[in-house]
């Protein structure tokens, strides 16, 4: 009986092809996903997983954690049966209540007090009154560009009278917070995002997850390196269109955080001039010294607070602050395009590419 000449070799070839395909499939691949639901910005998760399902599981747990922190720290939304910073800010009969809050709020506010001291009083979560004046003008000016206006000096200086962080009374044991100045409100915009990202990153690290990168509105935290042992390559955008360099710097990170504060990220335009969202507590105006300030350090909460603080500090003063901190480096870009970096910033730069 005649046997098929091709059958067996054919099956062999098919098996080889198949095993090749299966081999590729079991190697971990890079996935990514976005969400616009948290901290009024875009959150990107990038990670290596064996399958889409495995990635989706981890991404879902990350988003669910981010969602919790978002709900606790937001000052713009209230949620049913839940105390958050928005309810801490609210007035009842002309005063702030003593509000029993989630321990995560207490921890974050204690951290905020600590950063207030460490940043020479530059990062102040009690500046809500001033920031809300800017927020209202920015929102109106954005919706009605032809009517866009600047806050008056009078409004700002009046609001600035109610920004003493010592009027934020925290009772750690009772887990309560209250604001003893009725005209004072909290705005944790300068630290909450980074703090939440750091907490989520630690949650993942405790679960043994590695090979992930979180980016919540420019607040980057790497969780380990890549599965093949390589580091993450992170480019810092060069906002200058006329520049030939696409990136201000090209970094290799493995477990570190990179936070960039930029004047080009959020702003509105009044009479043809841009006014961005990082307000200097001394001048009560957007700080105009830099286009962007990037901070590389271990803790993303520190990175967030520091990048905001450095944005409002002179270069010399800021450089001295960075040099006094361990494992913390920074890159400043001035309006004319010149860049300055702290002494150890270079060690994070990729050697293969600039």
């Amino acid at each position: 009986m005649r046997k098929s000449f091709f059958r067996w070799p054919g099956i062999c070839v098919a098996l080889i092809l198949l095993s090749g395909a299966v081999g590729c499939g079991s190697k971990s691949e890079k996935y990514s996903t976005y969400s616009f639901d948290y901290f009024d910005t875009v959150s990107v998760i990038t990670g290596y997983a064996d399958s889409q399902e495995q990635f989706d599981d981890i991404a879902e747990s990350i988003f669910s954690e981010l969602s919790e922190y978002h709900k606790l720290f937001t000052i713009y939304d209230r949620f049913e049966k839940m105390e958050n910073l928005s309810t801490v800010n609210e007035l009842k009969d002309g005063t702030h209540r003593v509000v029993t809050v989630d321990p995560r709020i207490i921890d974050m506010l204690l951290y905020a007090k600590d950063m207030y001291k460490k940043t020479d009083e530059t990062v102040n979560v009690a500046m809500g009154s001033v920031l809300s004046v800017w927020h209202d003008y920015r929102t109106e000016g954005t919706e009605n560009p032809s009517e866009a206006k600047l806050p008056t000096v009078g409004e700002l200086t009046e609001a600035a009278k109610h920004t003493d962080i010592n009027h934020m009374i925290i009772d750690e044991e009772a887990c309560t917070v209250t604001l003893t100045d009725p005209d004072m409100t909290l705005d944790v915009g300068a630290i909450a995002k980074g703090y939440a990202v750091e907490m989520v990153a630690r949650f993942l690290e405790e679960k043994g997850v590695t090979g992930y990168l979180l980016n919540v509105g420019g607040n980057v935290r790497t969780i380990g390196g890549k599965p093949n042992g390589e580091k993450w390559l992170v480019g810092i955008e060069n906002p200058k269109e006329e520049s030939e360099e696409s990136y201000l710097a090209y970094l290799e990170l493995s477990g570190e955080s990179l936070v960039t504060s930029g004047s080009y990220q959020r702003y509105y335009v009044v009479d043809g001039k841009r006014y961005h969202h990082i307000i200097d507590p001394e001048t009560l105006m957007p700080s105009e010294d830099y286009v962007s300030v990037s901070v590389v350090c271990k803790n993303s909460a520190d990175g967030d607070a520091l990048s905001t603080a450095l944005f409002c500090m002179g270069l010399e003063e800021g450089m001295a602050l960075v040099e006094s901190l361990t494992d913390t480096e920074a890159l400043w870009m001035l309006d004319d395009g010149t860049c300055y970096e702290s002494s150890g910033f270079g060690k994070y730069k990729s050697e293969t590419k600039k």
Partner: protein
């Protein structure tokens, strides 16, 4: 009579075997072609721009071809980000979003670069063709 039937059956059988071989070769060739095509499409497509709305991919465009894309959002598709791909670069020419930050963003062309429109939840990202040492993310 019986012999004749058997002979015919053997002949038929061997013809079927031959036909099966041919089918197998054709299938194999098809597979190889498909594999080649897959390689071409996935790896050899060149630099491309991926557009997502609220995390869902809605389109992929080659940076090599000049094109204008209306990215529509909103309940009645009333919102617009006009994506223009020209001379290997992608940018948002106009947009109906209130802040207009996306249309102020400089043109993007390198792997990992992106333009984000927060109000419309639109993200436009460049993916380069196997660019060596391409960044995982650009911030």
């Amino acid at each position: 009579m019986m012999q004749d039937v058997k002979n015919r059956s053997v002949e038929k059988n061997s013809r079927r075997l031959f036909r099966n071989d041919m089918i197998f070769i054709v299938v194999l060739l098809l597979l190889v072609t498909a594999f080649g095509l897959w390689i071409y499409l996935v790896r050899g497509e060149g630099d491309r721009v991926v557009v997502t709305i609220d995390g869902k991919e809605i389109g992929t465009y080659s940076l090599a071809e000049d094109v204008t894309v209306e990215i529509r959002t909103g309940l009645q598709n009333e919102e617009l980000n006009l994506l223009v791909i020209k001379d290997g670069k992608a940018y948002v020419e106009t947009a109906t979003c209130p802040d207009g930050i996306c249309s102020e963003h400089k043109p993007i062309s390198r792997e990992g670069e992106s333009i984000v429109c927060l109000p419309h939840k639109v993200v436009i990202t460049v993916y380069a063709e196997n660019e060596k040492d391409a960044p995982d993310i650009v911030v």
